[in-house]
Symmetry: C2
Subunit: 191 residues, 2 copies
């Protein structure tokens, strides 16, 4: 995982490389339905700011930064680095953007108690690994930016692995960790 | 520690409640010398944006957010909460703002290895606790904001505890953790 902290902006609106299939409120408030999703990196957003903010049809922006590892330990990192497929595989034409906000109760916990819930009891890393290399994943942090969500997770997979991805999502939502989620939206797209 | 993620902006310029005593580059590039430091919370910055950005004498802004605990464990949190003095004690008329950026090598480490350096080997929490309740401390996170520094730490103390504070700073700079610091500036102020 790179530690480059460039900001990425996901733009829901009338244009973008990804066609939106569904936007489902999983917990809490949803997001406005839009036909397209555009993903702008730091350079692109600077170039695109005028046109994007002035464009008709833009309904929402979600911003996040790739950042450093908050829970992953060395042995897990080694296995993740080996098993993780890259973003942008030609066959991975389906994707999901899942923004999540966790509760104040979660953020008030010290590091060891969050780690215990996240991995020791919820197996977030170990169980997610079973879905590699079919599902590629990239995490963006948003909490310190004052965004409405704490994390944006981007998943990519081939259409043949769509059922497997549903399993992954169900697994993540059945954990103790997930009881701390107070807002989640599930955005499915294809290109 | 509160988990409210409101942004705080430290403004170096011609005005502000704190008079600058010194601005010393400890490692890497320093910051422009200014006579005053103003501290603006989220509400204030919105109100002050026009006047601040338009004001003569403003040389730099440093932004950060109070955020959740990255390394502190439950037992440490309990002791910290008991021992930590509040910000704003009337007798604490001296303060230091110490912005720090750590190296890519630090941020590439997984969580367990950063924790081992931070506390197991550098005793950051345990040794800092010896300086309480004389020195009050507030940490602001800035890395995910794309700021030039990763952290801004604000320390407050009474003039009679100035020597003690020098001990604290010396202690922090003698650790293994500090070998990962690639930029640090030490700004001393009084009100």
């Amino acid at each position: 995982m790179s530690t480059v902290s460039g900001m990425t902006t996901f733009v829901g609106g009338a244009s973008g490389d990804w066609r939106v299939l569904s936007i489902s409120p999983v917990k809490g408030e949803g997001l406005a339905l839009v036909p397209h999703l555009a993903i702008l990196d730091e350079t692109a957003i600077v170039r695109a700011t005028d046109s994007v903010t002035g464009a008709s049809g833009v309904r929402w922006f979600l911003r996040g930064v790739r950042s450093y590892l908050r829970y992953v330990e060395r042995a897990e990192k080694t296995r993740l680095d080996e098993a993780s497929p890259p973003i942008g595989r030609p066959e991975a034409t389906r994707a999901a953007l899942i923004p999540i906000r966790k509760s104040a109760a979660w953020w008030d916990l010290p590091q060891d108690e969050r780690r215990a819930i996240f991995e020791t009891r919820s197996h977030h890393i170990a169980d997610s690994m079973k879905y590699m290399p079919a599902v590629a994943r990239r995490l963006y942090h948003a909490r310190d930016l004052g965004e409405p969500f704490d994390f944006l997770t981007w998943f990519e997979f081939a259409p043949k692995d769509a059922d497997l991805f549903e399993d992954l999502v169900r697994m993540l939502r059945s954990t103790e960790e997930w009881t701390f989620v107070e807002r989640e939206v599930d955005i499915r797209v294809e290109r």
